[in-house]
Amino acid sequence: MRFEKMKKIFILLIILLPLGAKVFAQDSLPTVPHYSFRLDSTTIMLGDQTVLAVEKGPVYPSLDDLTNHDVVAVRQWMDTADGTLYTALTSFEEGEHWLHIGADSVLLTVNDVPGVDTTSTNIRDIAGIMSQPYTFGEIARVVLFVWLFWAVVAAAILIYLRIKRRKPLISLPQAPPLPPDTRALQRLEELRQQQLWQQGKVKEYYTELTDTVRVYLEEACGIQSTEMTTDQTLDAFHSSPASGSETEASLRQILQAADMVKFAKSQPQPYQHDLALGQAIDFIKTTWVALNPKTDNPDTENTAS
């Protein structure tokens, strides 16, 4: 009896075993979730993109689920503010394609680009480059470059000229030059101290004397005396504002006496050498005062002796 009971139970188990397996099998199948989503457009042209937005959920559909052989994902990004996942999709296959988003599906229709009938339209050239308005940044860059270029060119020319003229690249400020009369009187004082005629160098003495007077005339009166003969110098001095009957006579005497020494081997008496120097000093002082009537020149007083 017991054996029979056990046999029934065994048979019952044999019958129920597949059923239990079935029930277990049902319990192990994955649950397909539902997503809340929206698609920008369900109809696109070949190669166009449409964006699928899946709202925040516990999980998001994977890219593999969204795409297939015909539909591809271009890019995917997440809006961190509301947790929406965006996926840009496109397709290069004409036709209708089902997109499976979790338990839901949506139909994406992809249309082909309409063909161009080249027989009915004229062939046109490639469109030219479109001009865009210049921006301030672009203009500023060009202007800056031009300024920089010319600055470099100017600097190069300046450096070249200074090198050519043998001037220092950077010139330091110098003391203002002494007035012509002061310089001339200083030179005459130096001439006196050199004692040239005492050493028998009479010609050198008179040459230096007349050179000093000629340079003074050039600087003070604007008479290019160093390139003029005695007669020309006297003519030019005659029309100078510094001219007077005494100064003219004095200049004539100085230059002509010097000419005699320089060109005719004349040998004046020793007292005449100092006399000529004194005449030159007087001439410079008198003419300088005539040229600068209001100038009170203490230097002149100090240097002339």
Binding site: E227, Q232, F263, Q267
Partner: protein
């Protein structure tokens, strides 16, 4: 001190001996109105043994001046009109066969005179110009197998007409260089013109008398050579001549592109000689820079060659010489 005495003595001697210059000038001025510069240049050429090239339009008393000079010095004078068909023999002379003696006799040409006026020298072909210029330089002429010395003083005054170019043979630079002075003569002043007119209309031309002999001129030439020229003046002359060759060395770089060639050493020598003659005429025994300046233009204007650039810019050799004289430092 000895030098000083010599100069003083020379100065006095020259002052004494050069008195004839004034007399000669007065004699020439009897019939020539104006043209002071031409007369002065003629005297410089005479005293410094140089020849003169005159440039100026016709009718400016060129012939009258040299004729008057010849009369005043009691010298032989020839005027030769240069033409395209002139031959060297017409100028120098030739050998002529004498049937009577059955031999060749020398027939001397017009060049055998003391003073020659070679009128319009650029109208004769090169061979005639060359013959004249060689005679000017060598002071001798060879006819046949005999060489004849030319009379002293021998002065050639050649003229060029600047306004006609057709049918002329311009003198080459090397031949122009043989003239000591190139004098450009201009029209007389209005008052001078009136005097000329008056003289010619009234026939009030004075008869000239010889006041000198050729020997006096030769003696004066020797004295001119003695005129003292200081080293400073020599340097000044050298500077002026060098400035025509290397203007950039005298702060005259702007002239560098305008000068094709500068004055030759003959230019320096002539400048020195003419300066001495000028000093002599001023009755001085020494040369001063004024003397050099006074004659530098006439000595140098035909010795400075111009480039095409200068000609294109209408720059004249006178302007260049002026620029140089105004730039070179005077001693």
């Amino acid at each position: 001190m000895e030098d000083f005495v010599n100069i003083q003595e020379l100065n006095e001697r020259i002052s004494r001996e050069s008195a004839f210059v004034d007399a000669l000038t007065i004699e020439l001025r009897k019939n020539i109105v104006g043209q002071k510069h031409m007369i002065e240049s003629l005297m410089i050429g005479l005293l410094s043994n140089g020849h003169i090239l005159l440039e100026g339009v016709p009718g400016l008393a060129k012939t009258l001046t040299i004729t008057s000079l010849a009369n005043a010095i009691d010298a032989k004078f020839s005027r030769i009109q240069f033409t395209p068909d002139l031959l060297p023999a017409d100028l120098l002379g030739t050998m002529i066969y004498s049937q009577k003696t059955e031999s060749f006799n020398v027939k001397k040409g017009p060049i055998f005179s003391h003073f020659i006026l070679a009128d319009e020298i650029n109208r004769a072909p090169a061979k005639v110009q060359s013959a004249l210029l060689e005679a000017m330089q060598e002071r001798q002429v060879t006819i046949g197998e005999t060489t004849y010395r030319l009379d002293e003083p021998f002065l050639v005054m050649a003229t060029q007409n600047p306004i006609e170019q057709e049918g002329t043979y311009p003198l080459p630079e090397a031949q122009v260089d043989r003239f000591m002075l190139k004098v450009v003569i201009t029209y007389p002043q209005k008052e001078e013109e009136r005097l000329i007119l008056h003289q010619q209309m009234t026939g009030a031309t004075a008869k000239q008398h010889p006041i000198l002999t050729p020997a006096d001129i030769i003696k004066a030439r020797d004295l001119v050579r003695e005129v003292y020229m200081d080293e400073k003046i020599e340097n000044y002359i050298t500077d002026i001549v060098f400035a025509t060759r290397f203007p950039e060395q005298y702060q005259l770089s702007k002239l560098k592109g305008l000068i094709s060639y500068g004055a030759s050493p003959r230019g320096s020598i002539n400048l020195a000689l003419a300066s001495k003659a000028y000093a002599f005429m001023r009755r001085r025994g020494y040369v001063i820079p004024e003397d050099v300046r006074a004659i530098a233009m006439d000595v140098l204007r035909h010795r400075v060659g111009l480039t095409y650039e200068a000609e294109a810019e209408n720059v004249t050799s006178e302007e260049i010489v002026n620029e140089i004289l105004n730039r070179v430092d005077v001693p």
